[in-house]
Symmetry: C2
Subunit: 873 residues, 2 copies
């Protein structure tokens, strides 16, 4: 196996496609050198194969020979020799993995300097100060990175030298003193390592290569890969390259540039440069940079050469590139290029523009792959307009977007403040149905308890309202909230970011760019590609939600949760009357009132989705969710302050409380226990559909039963629909499908039987995940998940990305068995995985018919479906 | 298809094996007639095929012709004709299904009587009173059963006749008046049906046959089949048989008999008879019966004939039989025989005796199949010694056996009463760890909340202590408990039956027969048969439990739950100190104390099971189970009565409380979150094993991790064992296996990966069922399950009998995948299904290596394993 490849090695395929072998940096250096023939300082890449071999079994056989041969070749090409006392060759050793890991891994510059060659450098540059300053920097860098010596020691010596010289800036230390400093550095190395500082450039290079290999498994790099989901087995490549010096004189310089504006996608000249400087100086912000356009004034020829290179890069990479370049004594050197990072807006606008660009001619498929879900997220939600603030605390980002407002601790106060015209952030330990009107009145919600499916999280996401939940550092005390030393009182302003989970004091500026007009076009392309494969529906529980969903391009409603209709301020008392009813007549009366109210709700939703399918899930949550908190009632009881009403509520709360509500009397089980409830809902829905149809509309109703575990249970529920249809005389062509959620492992395994009754399945992958893992999301996501992910006990959070192993196997089994019983069965996913691009890719593979997600995720899901199909080929 | 078979029809196989076709009664009548050639009144059977055809599509084509032909044949054989005015043939029409359903279905006697033949009967018997009394009974019976007329009307007329005659007894009504009564009965029928009472015997018979068919789907019959798990599709056969009259004169009589004592299994003459009586009189208990042995004095010839028949029946059926017989004018007629019901004791003793009986020569396999799990249950637990009591209320039978004692409502009071020497029944809403010492001091436990895996149920079963849980009619009020109008106060005596869930006031006598010596022999045969297939272990958490288990024949411990060690009165404070620890040092100190204590526990258990494997499950329940009830603390808080200690406990209770504890931080998750806890347990266990080994013992330790969901998680846990072994220098041949419970669907699906780390799997089918169904047993078993079973939404309670569909599929998948990764992986089941015979049969099919159950179930499981293997062939 060959480990070392010079930048102009004749690979059989374009080196830009060899990132797995050469790393990103190495691949692009080779591409620029051998394909584009741009001015790149010569060098070579040691492959990721070598790194993996090194990690598994130490320095690989034959690698020394290959590196030596490559160094000799490099010396020949550059006409310089390593360690040469006259004109030494200096090299950089840089890591470069397949995926960019900025700042995570190590680089050593100026290798080749030693006691002899430093003099050569001084002679060549006629600048001993520069030469010795380079040498001292090299020693300190090498000692830190390769030899693991604490850099504080070197800083201490440096400070001493400045003190001796009476100067403040490193650059003002005279050459004479730098010579001593180099000596002191070398002694420090010798005393720490027991060995003199290596003088042999080859030994230096070997050390640096090993350090780069080793940095792959440094704790920062591992943590970064965990976060980004990068495979730990990839390893890094190492690039050894001849040094060029942008800081040689005023005819030199260095800069970075972008072929288009990475913020907006506009064409033009974007970037920064510095005269007489090295790359680090541009990034570090020590000196004030000049806009790249100014380069034309300093070095007109170099500027035009660079512009020409920009054009060639874009045509070649068919994308926006960023570059690093250095000018050494008037000559332009390209040090790096890559496809550049960009904002969502820029990504979108460039992708569309490049499909019409005569040179680049992106296909629609390519354009679609250029936009990431994060890009869309940025465009669709408000964000903090600044990054300059102090984080107060962090919770779970439960509903994306940022919000600012005054803090209120009760829903009543929130509503009053909202009525006064204030921006409100509702801050609660957790929310309950009693808080719904307070949440509605708020710009954002912050809770100290609960996970990503807590009441606060689910309700907020449904409304697209920013929410941070489970911020467990918040301590409620004395009518306020304490976080460490900070006390937040009612009326104080805070800002929350529901995308990142960040909370900060005070009012930060927010911004949300209007999505550019290119968005509609791109999503139209996506839909064209997805047609006949998978469509995207929305989870929407009200007419207004349904309208938003339709505006975002939803092709129907995949999940209409009827419980949210029960929680409205004017409904909850009726629901409680139903639960508390002493007689069947009282219960019937309450149900009747609910039926009238729900029929109106359904009518609004069906109208908003006229012509498109609407899947209505019958009541799912356990009844105690509609009752007040039992603990508060018990405390009242012990205080003797229960009212008559409270007494009844307490009795009901005791009757309906459960040890494990997730696994208790909910879903269709509630329908079996209280059949009147479900039949009422079915009637309300079908009546609404009939009304719309009579008014000339085109309703498509899908009745969905939650939490099914057996075919007889579903057949039992089916009878309710049949009866209601018969009662209403609604068999005159009303389009009604009957189906079930598949959210218990049993339902998945018995899908063949269940499909004999169900005309569609909607996979509730959230509950399916909870049951497959034995995870209560509320309980494990905050406490346990971070440890499990950090320790590698799970590959990813299965509530964010659907579990490819067990959960997807169950979905796949259910899909196959369901289809074997009913070939035309409609299969979908409702639940949060339906809005997650990685999960969508899994569902596309299984060939499901639709995914359904919150209205605000619909554009992302539309994109993700198309991307998955393109990637599947 | 032939529907009608005379009793001597030449079937190709022995009619006794045709119960599915002829029903139990018909098959045995045919067997007695055609094979044994016993004196059986002639007749024929209408098959279950006819019944099924009738239920599906009404009276089957051709059935009338077949019945008519059979009736003609019957007339010829008996030399009598239906409706004959001289000497009429009378017949009975009786139901007889494949499985006995006593009292559930209909019988009509004396068919063939009409206005003409009644005179013939009077002439033949020279007893007009008898003839008209028979006719009046026939009309009333027919009217009730076939025509659905309320029998109250007939009773009213009968009372009038007695009043007119001035007599008290039906039998004293003179013939003349009976003639008028018959007339009145017929008029009643005519006015109710609009038709005269049918005079044509064939019409009468057709009506009776249809009534029997119809009674198969009567509500009582359906309910019975639900309870007994009998297939609703089987249908019943109908037997039409010539009547004989045991009530003809004093040379006649009727009786029932058993070929051995059904209570003890002893050989001898058992049964009852009555002179001049009909079968009903024996059963109804109107007249005092005589012991069967007395028959010899009345009818010596008949007696010896009967004894000879008994011998032939036993040899033929190779089992104890019961019979019904009638003597008509000195001639013996056999009316029915079947393999008789028996007590557990009798079943066991007869099975063993019949293997050595030279004539019967049962094989060991046959003998094993003769004993049902219920038989063993009867023998192993105390029962109420009477059936004469009034049921106060019923809950879930959570732990079998009966107990009596005085009621105490707190554990403290229970302990004090126990110390005074009283028998105690602890009555609580539900129990918690704080109640363990109170439970220990009680003879039985009764709770008003919770299901079969509630704290009370699990702890009581573990100790073999009777318990009734979830008796939700109990209302706690004013220091007592109310059930309807009854108030139970502290110190009142009650009796509970944890097998049936029955609760009654007062002290019932209890009995438990010492298991007969034959038990050991039989179970030894069972073990011989099971060797090399499946062994039975016990769930035992302490040395004494382990000793009991070993005495019951357990081949090791399949589940030692370490949490019960944490709940002992002297341990709980240490556990709480660990949870509340402010500093790592405090926590370590508490863990250290627990380690010392647990080592002792483990040593006792390993000693009791010396030479046999002991599977120890590391701590499973969530930590809040070791803390006091949070609601009580919250109430104290609101009252301002929290102590310092309470405050800390409240804080901890808040930290560790969970929305769904079943799905929260428990099992290995706890180990990941608090590694010190698990490593402490592993160390304590391995130290105990080393100590036993050093003392010359032979410990076999199996460390079991609960609730695994992924291979890396299990590997993480494995490291604790490796470390502990290394620390203790315990690699000198200590036999330690490492494995996991498979109780999440994910673990089942990923068994291939998990088996790379696990050397054994133990299926936790209780949790696996909860997760597969999305059922919290505590929440659904009391409230929902009865409805689900009654409505047929589930075939059976999946917590009692393992779900053959989904759960067994997961076990099967896991077994296959586990073996594919590790062919010699040991596979077992711990959890209650491991003691359920039906479930054991499923596990035997999959080829698991062992089941583990509570010590008191071990004999039943040993039997069930052998029976399954015999049945599998």
């Amino acid at each position: 196996m060959q480990f070392v490849f010079s930048f102009d090695y004749p690979h059989e395929i374009a080196p830009m496609n060899l990132k797995h072998l050469l790393g990103g940096k190495g691949a692009n250096l080779a591409e620029m050198t051998s394909v584009l023939e741009l001015p790149v300082p010569h060098g070579f890449t040691i492959s990721t194969d070598a790194c993996r071999a090194y990690i598994d079994g130490g320095w690989p056989d034959g690698l020394t020979v290959e590196v030596d041969r490559a160094l000799t070749e490099l010396e020949e090409r550059m006409g310089k020799r390593l360690g040469d006392p006259g004109d030494p060759l200096l090299v950089s050793v840089r890591s470069g993995a397949q995926f960019s890991m900025p700042g995570m891994m190590d680089t050593v510059l100026n290798l080749g300097l030693n006691d002899v060659s430093v003099e050569g450098l001084a002679a060549q540059t006629d600048d001993p100060r520069f030469a010795y300053d380079s040498y001292r920097r090299f020693i300190a860098m090498y000692a830190r990175i390769v030899q693991g010596i604490d850099s504080m020691e070197f800083d201490r010596l440096l400070d001493a030298a400045k003190e001796l010289a009476g100067v403040d800036s490193d650059g003002d230390i005279p050459a004479e003193l730098l010579r001593y400093l180099v000596g002191a550095y070398k002694e420090l190395v010798a005393s720490e390592t027991g060995q003199p500082f290596p003088q042999d450039p080859k030994v230096q290079i070997r050390g640096a290569i090993e350090a780069v290999f080793g940095s792959w498994n440094g704790p920062r790099a591992i943590a970064y890969r965990e976060r980004e989901g990068i495979d730990h087995r990839l390893g890094t490549a190492v690039n050894v390259q001849a040094m060029v010096f942008g800081n040689r004189d005023d005819n030199s310089g260095t800069g970075v540039g972008f072929t288009r504006d990475p913020a907006t996608g506009d064409q033009g000249v974007y970037g920064d440069f510095l005269v007489n400087a090295q790359g680090e100086d541009v990034v570090a912000g020590v000196r004030m940079t000049e806009p790249l356009a100014e380069l034309e004034n300093h070095f007109p020829e170099v500027f035009h050469q660079l512009m020409e290179i920009f054009e060639r890069l874009e045509l070649h990479y068919r994308d926006m590139c960023d570059v690093e370049f250095t000018v050494e004594q008037g000559k332009l050197w390209m040090l790096q290029t890559r496809v550049g990072k960009r904002t969502g807006m820029a990504a979108l606008r460039m992708a569309v523009a490049m499909t019409t660009d005569a040179g680049i001619k992106l296909s629609k498929e390519e354009a679609l792959l250029r936009i990431s879900p994060d890009h869309l997220d940025q465009m669709l939600h408000p964000q903090f307009a600044t990054t300059k603030f102090e984080v107060l605390t962090t919770g779970l980002g439960a509903s994306p977007g940022a919000a600012v407002g005054k803090v209120y601790f009760t829903s009543e106060a929130a509503v009053l403040a909202h009525e006064r015209g204030e921006d409100v952030i509702l801050v609660r330990k957790e929310t309950s149905p009693d808080d719904v009107h307070g949440m509605l009145a708020s710009n954002g919600v912050l809770t100290s308890r609960g996970g990503l499916v807590s009441h606060a999280a689910v309700v907020a996401r449904g409304w697209g309202k920013p929410a941070v939940v489970g911020a467990d550092q918040l301590i409620f005390e004395g009518g306020g909230v304490r976080v460490g030393d900070n006390l937040i009182r009612e009326g104080d302003e805070i800002s929350i970011d529901g995308t990142t989970g960040t909370v900060t004091l005070g009012r930060l500026p927010l911004e949300v760019a209007e999505p550019p007009e290119e968005l509609d076009l791109l999503l139209q392309w996506a839909d064209e590609l997805s047609a006949g494969h998978m469509s995207v529906r929305a989870n929407a529980d009200s007419g207004p939600d349904a309208e938003v969903a339709r505006r975002f391009g939803a092709k129907g409603i995949g999940l209409c949760r009827t419980e949210h209709m029960f929680l409205a301020e004017d409904r909850l008392p009726i629901v409680r009357r139903m639960i508390l009813a002493d007689t069947p007549a009282d219960e019937e009366q309450a149900l009747e009132e609910l039926r009238v109210a729900q029929r109106q709700d359904f009518l609004q939703i069906l109208r908003a989705m006229d012509g498109l399918p609407v899947t209505v899930r019958l009541l799912d949550p356990p009844l105690h969710e509609f009752l007040p908190d039992i603990e508060a009632l018990l405390i009242k009881e012990s205080n003797g302050t229960l009212t008559k009403e409270d007494e009844k509520l307490l009795e009901a709360a005791k009757t309906w409380r459960e040890f494990n509500p997730m696994l208790g009397v909910r879903g269709v089980r509630l329908g079996v226990l209280k059949p009147g409830l479900y039949t009422m809902q079915v009637r309300a829905l079908l009546e609404a559909a009939m009304e719309l149809k009579r008014a000339g509309g085109d309703p498509h109703v899908e009745v969905m039963i939650p939490l099914t575990i057996s075919k007889p249970e579903l057949a039992y529920a089916h009878a309710w629909v049949e009866e209601a249809l018969a009662e209403l005389g609604a068999d005159d062509g009303l389009d009604v499908l009957f189906g079930t959620m598949i959210e218990t492992p049993r339902a998945a395994l018995l899908a063949m039987e269940i499909a004999e009754v169900a005309e569609f399945f909607s996979f509730g992958t959230n509950d399916l995940t909870q049951l497959t893992y034995g995870f209560s999301r509320d309980d494990v996501e905050g406490k346990l998940m971070p440890i499990y992910l950090a320790q590698g006990l799970l590959p990813s959070n299965p509530f964010k990305v659907v579990d490819e192993e067990a959960v997807i196997e169950l979905v796949n089994i259910a899909a196959k068995r369901g289809r074997s019983a009913r070939p035309d069965i409609k299969l979908g996913v409702c639940g949060e995985h339906g809005g997650d691009p990685e999960s969508i890719a899994s569902f596309v593979k299984i060939g499901l018919d639709y995914v359904s997600c919150s209205p605000y995720r619909v554009p992302i899901a539309r994109l993700a479906v198309a991307q998955s199909l393109v990637r599947e080929g």
